[in-house]
């Protein structure tokens, strides 16, 4: 881009280095990547060093320093996508489209890249092409796309006009994504826009709001399950000239897509929840961090926000509440799983590499730009709205003793009815499997790769924080699937790619574990290897962040629950096989000396 064009972009963003993500997005929208010259000009305008820009760009999956083709296809490589036929699609792109895997076709037209779960597990295989979502891909559809790309058609023309259900067809969104809502509860039931803010919150003090949330015993719905009331209270008590409410819509855990549906169907509830949180903690500003994969919703969500602003629900005195003002914006991510970690999400919003911060201080004390910040999941905000509406008591009466309320789960994989289910906590896995029409189930991955892989003897376990906790992902694998090859290997590759690389164990161990897996799969594994894997995996708990803590879970939980699958592949009657192939190692020496090794 020209110096002038870049300057205009920077000017629009007030030459604020914290707006770097937005600036980079605009450049990428324009030309697909950032050039060295762009970096130089940005550095001058934003007063960030060139190297800082470079390190930020290099951190994110969807930013690039060189062209990734006129059309850039990011084909999802999640375990679910694999079992729904990703390979076939990829083959078409490569063989018929002349694409190169993880590179650009020689003519520079099409780039083909792998990307982890894009939140479409209920309609895989799916791909992200120039920021738009294409779901339920078939070989035929892939050929059609290639044909159109070669003709140079704009992406809009490749899209069908048969849009998805519900508000997917909204004129500001026009996506072919389907909601697949299968079971509705209080969160998903239709509700009147900003009713709670108007009717209830306006009559309550911030303390009373906080009281209800605490009474409800709501816990964070992103996966970690931290008590929301407590988080809000800490932030309320923290000192700061300003405070922030962040909505974490960086739904990156493979197999999860419930936030996608809430963002599509319930954006007003989410925003209402953010306003309520802002009221309770004393914040004036909100940021909704939207994962890049959901970019197709950005215009739509901005339209909703603008409408609410015009209707007086955002800005000064929302819904007429005196002495309170709250406004918000959307921050688009750029492809990084670890950005779903709250402090990494804040770093990213500040325009930096999404590396988790050391704690303390916690974000509720020192978060975005150093101000106290509450970061909550999309669903948590929706639940908060219902809690204020119907009372903490009511919410507390739902669910189990220590897991209150309802939970949205995203079900995918080998089942008849993949989609979104709103369940009270307390269902057994067996209930769920029956509900979704799963047959001959071999394994269920609860809570995504960072969760637990459950075997069929454990199907009576209960969905709740103290037993089978989940941030929303339930992936089902039936007897056709191999636990190690189809599931564990894929998940480990995911963690290797997504580690930020800062902590030593997280940088090295997943890689080593994957090498062990390869060894076992190649038939060279021994019982010693299993012991090593368990021992090494246990070290992950000293990493800095949640990703680091759980990055060995696929192996640890499968070793626990599917040990026989490993044992079947081990060399019999052998405790140990060296990693060194002596014959291979002595080959060079043998050549020099012209002698046959005696081994």
């Amino acid at each position: 881009m020209t110096q002038h064009e870049l300057k205009i972009i920077c000017e629009k963003n007030h030459f604020d280095r914290h707006s770097l993500m937005d600036i980079l997005h605009e450049i990428h929208d324009h030309q697909g990547f950032t050039t060295e010259e762009d970096i130089r000009i940005l550095s001058e305008n934003l007063k960030i060093s060139e190297i800082d820009l470079r390190q930020t760009i290099s951190f994110y999956h969807f930013f690039a320093c060189s062209s990734r083709g006129k059309y850039t296809i990011y084909l999802n490589n999640s375990a679910i996508s694999n079992l729904k036929g990703r390979e076939e699609i990829e083959k078409v792109f490569i063989e018929e489209g002349g694409c190169v895997k993880n590179g650009v076709s020689p003519d520079g037209l099409i780039g083909l890249y792998e990307t982890p779960c894009i939140g479409m597990s209920d309609q895989e295989p799916a791909a992200l092409i120039n920021g738009r979502i294409f779901t339920n891909l078939t070989a035929f559809r892939a050929k059609e796309l290639l044909h159109n790309m070669k003709k140079g058609l704009p992406l809009e023309d490749m899209y069908t006009t048969v849009y998805g259900d519900g508000r997917n067809a909204h004129p500001e969104m026009k996506s072919i994504v389907r909601n697949n809502i299968r079971r509705v509860g209080p969160l998903l039931r239709p509700s009147e826009k900003m009713q709670v803010l108007k009717n209830q919150v306006s009559q309550m003090s911030p303390e009373q709001v906080l009281e209800q949330v605490k009474l409800a015993e709501l816990r964070g719905r992103g996966g970690a399950g931290f008590p929301t009331g407590l988080k809000w209270q800490f932030c309320r008590m923290a000192e700061g000239k300003k405070k922030y409410v962040f909505c974490n819509a960086d739904e990156g855990e493979p197999g999860t897509f419930k936030d996608r549906v809430l963002l599509t169907e319930k954006p007003e509830d989410i925003i209402e929840g953010m306003i309520i949180a802002g009221y309770a903690i004393g914040a004036q500003e909100g940021v909704l961090y939207l994962r890049y994969e959901y970019k197709y919703m950005k215009n739509y969500l901005e339209y909703i926000i603008q409408t609410l602003r015009e209707e007086g629900f955002l800005g000064k005195n929302p819904a007429g509440i005196k002495g309170f003002s709250f406004d918000m914006r959307i921050q688009l991510g750029a492809g990084s799983y670890v950005c779903g970690e709250e402090s990494a999400l804040i770093e990213s919003t500040e325009g930096k590499r999404g590396e988790p911060r050391s704690r303390p201080p916690f974000p509720v004390e020192k978060g975005y730009l150093g101000y106290p910040t509450v970061v909550n999941n999309v669903e948590t905000f929706c639940a908060a709205v219902k809690i204020v509406q119907f009372g903490g008591d009511w919410y507390n009466s739902l669910g189990t003793d220590e897991s209150k309320g309802t939970k949205l789960v995203s079900v995918s994989g080998d089942c008849r009815y993949p989609g979104i289910y709103e369940l009270e906590w307390g269902f057994t896995m067996r209930d769920v499997l029956e509900m979704v029409g799963a047959k001959e189930t071999r394994a269920v991955q609860m809570g995504g790769p960072s969760g637990e892989l459950v075997n069929k003897h454990q199907f009576d376990r209960i969905l709740c924080y103290s037993d089978l906790a989940t941030g929303g992902s339930i992936m089902i694998f039936d007897r056709r699937r191999n636990v190690i090859e189809d599931v564990v290997v894929n998940f480990m590759e995911f963690f290797i790619n997504e580690s930020c690389g800062s902590c030593v164990p997280c940088r090295n161990i997943p890689k080593l574990l994957k090498e062990k897996l390869d060894k076992i799969l190649s038939g060279k594994g021994t019982s010693q290897d299993l012991a090593d894997m368990e021992r090494w995996g246990a070290m992950m708990k000293i990493n800095r962040c949640g990703l680091g803590h759980t990055a060995a879970h696929p192996i640890l939980s499968s070793l626990k629950n599917f040990r026989s699958h490993y044992e079947r592949k081990l060399r019999k009657h052998t405790d140990f096989i060296s990693d060194v192939d002596l014959l291979e190692a002595s080959k060079e020496a043998a050549e020099y000396t012209n002698r046959e090794p005696v081994i």
């Binding site: 390190q55 990084s336 303390p360």
Partner: protein, 909 residues
């Protein structure tokens, strides 16, 4: 409040980290660490420092990284439990699984954090299998100083953090993520191609040999080091110099140094190679028939004594003068002025402060009563706003400059007043780029806007100052439109900056030679003082007026009396009482007439009034303005002695050349820009037949019949402390590791901040000065419509005599002139062309660099290289008060040179 270590109670400090808590109670190395470093913020990437933390005795514990986890009351810390020990071992093995095990042939063998941690933990082998590694990475030997071998990198981020947090250069960074993340330099290029400023902070920070330097500084074993003070600027960095068999191997920066906290610039750390360079003068030289011949010290002394005696006898003592050196120690400067005053009997003693900070000393003395920085550099940590006028600290005072850059990059209010877009200006909140020579106009505008907005601190003004009412009236009478027109500064910007400074809470000002080297230099300093007083920014941490001293001991040489009007301790030589005091102390009568300043000495020589001159460590030919005039003056002398390290342009003019010693070869003290007197300690013996400068002076004094004991820093300090009031409590021993900031009272207590309750002169004095155009522009401006202003480059120091004899020349090998592209276009000049810059004095050919760093109408260059001799064109105009030359405003015109190859500077006939 207590917490427990292995179930024993210990007190805790609120907010401290577990690591700090352990260090306080168990000693410096309670747990192994890799990514932690003394001068960096906690980071927490290696996890080796993890400890078990439980909430109850022997209760369920959690492993937490001690470096960034805060301790809380009642916690039970188990720093070395079985669990932790196993875990540490595993982490170390993980690190080693991607690290070459070539310790025996590694430079840092024996001085490697990774190695010693592995040793402490007890690692014999790595149990992880060989997997994918990064051992194939190649060495980078592209740079004259910096080296890297990233196969040894353990991704601890220490170098990245040092580059960011210490130097603020942002050259190093981590690219990519996860297992594939790796250190990059610049845009992933080599050290040489990157913007690295070679400060070496990364090399010092790196725990392994992944980043080092050509001196293999990390092979340094602490017991062979000497701690001393850097010679390259007024920051006063402490250096730890490693020697082997009497030869200097490398230099590092001690972390406990107040002045530099483990940091230096490339000059301090790497540019020591000059000390035994083959060009060093190794014997006294006498010029016979235009050719220098080696003579013995006895002969040299004999000639000096004869000449000085005979000239004194024939023409009187005032026909002799001395120029002392700000690169020499306090003790040597004291001796030199004592020699001139007590032995020769004249006040014709001056030093290089004349051409740099003499207006600061004079101006601040007039306003406050003391001509030294009011505050300390560490106040940067507590101030809310910095105002930097006419200084380019990132080049000229790199360690302090880096701190300022950090300050600015944190988004704190930074105001830069400078005609050039200096590095700091690029990060500043406000950059006022006025026409060179109009400081007074800009500062008056600031004062106007502050008064106009009612932001003057009335309480401070009425309690602590005098002369405000008149001052205020004069300021308010000024026409802002006219001032804006004169200075070319944007009114709105000046106003915003003024209000930001006035309402900041604590605001600190810094200034450099861009303030002093002007016709109105002293007045500008007074206005800066006015600015501080009008806003009450005096007498507490984080405020004040703080000149950035150029040479390492400019402060000290002035303190010691190297100026014609004030003796040791700034005592007025014309005051009869003082004269008596000196008489008693020196035991001989001392003159009471003010002597000659340097430019006056040159005039006096041309007028046949000055006959002999002894110059120590200053290259006046290359660095003083109007070279041809300086040469003429020196050639007109009967006798010129030059005491030097190298055959400089000035030494070439001498009748007798004496080989002095560098800072690495002598004991003594330097006083840095924040009045900190620090110990300079001899690292090696003087090369060849050279001598410690102080000893040379002592020898001559004794031979001229004045008894002075042999040069010994401690004894000299004792003498100085008896005559210089603010040195009263200074002794060699008391100075210790980090020195003392004067005034030092009898008990040895020093002073961080001056003028706390009252000014040295009683009340602070407001002084109004209107802008006056310099004669240079008034007389020559129409014929020579451009202004050239001179400045410094990071890599070189002053005349470059020392830095040009180090590998620094590989980084920057010539003087260049900066030209705005618009001006270049008008004159048809391309980047890299030779241009001929012409002033009323002469012309030089110099290579052009086109840059927006200078505004149209302004050129900028340096005088580090004798090949260019830029001072052929600089002028004769001086500060009206202190006689500091106006290097910063020279009227010139320029064109593309007719010949496009470099030749020696020519002079207009």
């Amino acid at each position: 409040m207590v917490a427990y270590i292995d179930n024993k109670p210990y007190d805790i400090i609120e907010g401290e980290t577990i690591l700090n808590f352990l260090r306080r109670h168990l000693g410096p190395y309670p747990v192994p660490t890799l990514c932690d470093a003394p001068n960096l913020e906690p980071y927490g990437s290696c996890r080796v420092c993890s400890v078990d933390v439980a909430l109850e005795k022997n209760g369920r514990s959690k492993a937490l990284a001690s470096c960034h986890t805060q301790i809380t009351e009642g916690q039970y810390i188990y720093p070395d439990s079985d669990n932790i020990r196993r875990m540490r071992k595993s982490i170390l093995e993980l690190v080693l699984s991607d690290h070459p095990l070539d310790c025996l042939t590694c430079e840092v063998n024996g001085n490697c954090a990774l190695q010693s941690v592995a040793y402490k933990i007890g690692i014999r082998d790595v149990r992880y299998p060989d997997g994918e590694t990064h051992l194939h990475r190649e060495k980078d030997l592209s740079h004259p100083y910096m080296t890297s071998d990233l196969s040894k990198c353990i991704n601890c981020y220490r170098c990245v953090r040092a580059c960011d947090e210490v130097q603020g250069e942002f050259v190093l960074s981590m690219a990519g993520r996860g297992f594939d993340s790796y250190i990059i330099k610049g845009q992933d290029v080599s050290f040489a191609e990157s913007d690295c400023v070679s400060c070496g902070a990364c090399a010092q920070a790196c725990p392994t040999n992944a980043i080092s330097d050509v001196f293999e500084s990390k092979s340094l074993v602490p017991r062979s080091t000497t701690r001393t003070i850097c010679t390259y600027c007024g920051v006063g960095c402490n250096l730890e110099v490693a020697t082997l068999n009497g030869e200097i191997k490398s230099i590092r920066a001690p972390y406990d140094a107040e002045a530099n906290q483990g940091h230096t610039c490339l000059k301090g750390r790497y540019a020591f190679g000059f000390y035994n360079h083959e060009d060093r003068l190794r014997s006294p030289l006498l010029k016979k028939n235009g050719v220098f011949e080696e003579i013995s010290w006895d002969e040299a002394y004999g000639i000096m004594v004869d000449k000085f005696h005979s000239i004194k006898k024939e023409y009187g003592p005032d026909a002799i003068g001395g120029i002392s050196s700000s690169r020499c120690t306090n003790e040597e400067n004291y001796l030199m002025q004592k020699f001139i005053r007590a032995v020769i009997g004249t006040n014709n003693i001056d030093g290089c402060a004349r051409v740099c900070h003499s207006p600061t000393a004079l101006g601040m003395q007039r306003s406050f009563g003391t001509g030294a920085a009011t505050n300390s550099i560490k106040d940067l940590k507590v101030t809310d706003c910095i105002l930097v006028i006419g200084a380019n600290p990132t080049d000229a005072h790199p360690v302090t400059g880096a701190k300022m850059k950090q300050f600015a990059m944190k988004g704190k209010t930074t105001i830069v007043i400078d005609p050039r877009k200096t590095e700091l200006a690029r990060y500043a909140t406000y950059h006022i780029a006025m026409r060179p020579g109009t400081n007074v106009a800009v500062l008056n505008m600031m004062l106007y806007y502050i008064i106009d907005a009612g932001l003057d601190d009335k309480e401070f003004i009425s309690n602590r100052t005098e002369g405000y009412e008149d001052f205020r009236k004069e300021i308010l009478r000024l026409d802002m439109d006219k001032m804006a027109e004169i200075s070319g500064a944007d009114r709105k910007l000046v106003k915003e900056a003024a209000l930001a400074y006035a309402s900041a809470g604590n605001a600190m000002s810094f200034h450099g030679l861009g303030v002093t080297e002007h016709t109105q230099g002293t007045f500008t300093v007074q206005l800066i003082a006015d600015l501080a007083m009008i806003t009450g920014n005096i007498g507490r941490p984080g405020v004040g007026v703080n000149p950035l001293r150029g040479q390492n001991n400019v402060q000290g040489s002035a303190d010691m009396g190297v100026q014609p009007h004030q003796g040791a301790g700034y005592l007025d030589v014309t005051n009869p009482e003082i004269n008596q005091k000196y008489f008693k102390f020196y035991g001989v009568a001392v003159p009471s007439e003010v002597g000659l300043k340097i430019p006056e000495m040159f005039d006096a020589s041309i007028d046949d009034k000055l006959k002999a001159l002894w110059i120590i460590g200053e290259d006046v030919v290359q660095t003083d303005p109007n070279t041809q005039k300086v040469k003429k003056a020196l050639r007109n002398l009967d006798f010129l002695v030059v005491q030097e390290l190298f055959m400089t342009e000035t030494a070439k003019e001498a009748d007798l050349v004496l080989p002095g010693a560098s800072f690495l070869e002598k004991d003594g003290t330097f006083t840095n820009g924040e009045r900190r007197i620090q110990r300079v300690q001899q690292v090696v013996e003087p090369v060849g037949n050279s001598k410690v400068d102080g000893q040379i002076i002592v020898d001559v004094m004794n031979r001229m019949g004045y008894y002075q004991p042999d040069y010994d820093a401690a004894i000299m300090l004792e003498e100085i402390s008896q005559i210089v009031p603010f040195f009263k409590g200074v002794t060699w021993d008391r100075l210790g590791t980090n020195g003392l900031q004067w005034p030092v009272d009898e008990s040895g207590k020093d002073t961080e901040i001056l003028h706390i309750d009252r000014f040295k002169r009683g009340k602070g004095k407001f002084a109004y000065h209107d802008f006056r155009e310099t004669d240079e522009i008034a007389e020559h401006g129409s014929k020579y419509p451009y202004i050239i202003t001179t400045n410094r480059e990071l890599e070189h120091y002053n005349c470059g005599a020392m830095t040009r004899r180090t590998a620094n020349v590989e980084i920057l090998k010539e003087d260049i002139v900066l030209i705005n592209p618009a001006d270049a276009q008008t004159k048809g000049i391309k980047d890299g062309d030779l241009v001929c810059v012409e002033s009323p004095r002469g012309k030089v050919d110099i290579k052009a660099q086109l840059t927006e760093e200078v505004k149209p109408g302004v050129l900028s260059t340096t005088f580090h290289f004798p090949e260019i001799m830029i001072n052929n064109i600089t002028g004769d105009v001086h500060d009206t008060e202190a006689k500091c030359p106006e290097y910063k405003v020279v009227a010139v015109d320029f064109r593309k040179s007719r010949k496009q190859h470099l030749r020696k500077a020519g002079v207009l006939e």
